[in-house]
Point group: C2
Chain length 215, copies 2
Amino acid sequence: MATTSQGPAFEDLTARARIRDAALGHFAEYGFARATIRGIAQSAGVSLGLVRHHFGSKEALRQACDEYVMEATRQYNQQSLAGGPPDEAAFAAASRSAMHPLFRYVARALIDGSVTAANMFDEMVGMTEQWLVRRDQDRGEPPLADARSRAALITAMAVGIPLLHEHLSRALATDIFGPEGDRRVALGLLDIYSHSLISAEYAAASQAAFDKPHP
Amino acid sequence: MATTSQGPAFEDLTARARIRDAALGHFAEYGFARATIRGIAQSAGVSLGLVRHHFGSKEALRQACDEYVMEATRQYNQQSLAGGPPDEAAFAAASRSAMHPLFRYVARALIDGSVTAANMFDEMVGMTEQWLVRRDQDRGEPPLADARSRAALITAMAVGIPLLHEHLSRALATDIFGPEGDRRVALGLLDIYSHSLISAEYAAASQAAFDKPHP
DNA sequence: GACCGTCCTATACGTGTGTATTGTCAGCTG
DNA sequence: CAGCTGACAATACACACGTATAGGACGGTC
């Protein structure tokens, strides 16, 4: 479970950092419930007691991981979105950032009931909503649903990809976190997002039929 | 955690069925690891030993739930997709079926490593792939990615919705399993699937740039 | 009535896991 | 050197949970 992106990148990190990295990997892979402090300690090459010495409890260790990921995300966003308003490139980049190893942790944390991850989810919904309202200005007819609903759905769907990476990799016969799988996911998302899957006529008709639910 | 759609619908079900329904609810809500046999027994109103008497072990209980859901899905598909080839209505219906309470169990089972759920995932990918190849015949330029990649991505994204129902409901300030939330999800999906989010030009340009990864 | 199988409960056992305690060693400071 | 502090290990404790066992209540069959 490699270390987190750049950084020292060596195993001569401080023990606390090694424990945190190991915890990030275990929580992302096994989930909070199935991950064990002993397993994390073993991956970090330290004793069980040291984990407790540095973080106090399993829940506190989770919070430390949450805050670390949140801080890393903040820095990434500041240096990435600093140049100009959200455009298509920003949207595509945001979708693809779902592949970032740290994001895999956040996706799993959402399932495991992390409040920090929930806040990050809400933030992503807000950003997507802003993007949508700008894009809606170029549309003719009004959307079938408000921007917030669509933003929440798009966000949830994006998170679904790293969440189901195991099954996605199996269906593609390639690890989606590897270079080839990453390429196919990127191109697949580009195609899906750039081409409508159903016709606008059918959607409009479906909307009309939806307000009369019981024929 | 209501009983499964139609059926007897009352609490005068056989104890075995009540245990299974309770297990479906607990597994879907807490996941396999955090769900406890004692909690399931309590929800079903039976003793701990009876669960073991009927199902043998926790893993066997999970398999029984898997097979039950698989059989229910098979019947649903037979009576639903019997009439004609896949069309837009079938696609929309399949997307919306992600809201079905039983599907919530499958979504969670995918995260928890159920082999039965994995098979259902692969089946969904296959059906989506068939749908896509038919639809690709009406497209001008070739897609940016093969149908299987796109099918797997669409499937994973659809599963993401029930998986993140908690956060989705919070973002929408409405329970997405309730009538109002269900409506907003349906309309939101219709709009997303019927309108491209990014321009085809940008997507094509992005594809071209993707083959030269390091500028 | 006697026997038997099924549904069901109560209780006990073993183990994995989070948590707590204690102890050791290195480094620093007076 | 004495004394203290923090990093770290080893061990023990408490508890929840899956599993196993023993037994009772009820209905059917001979």
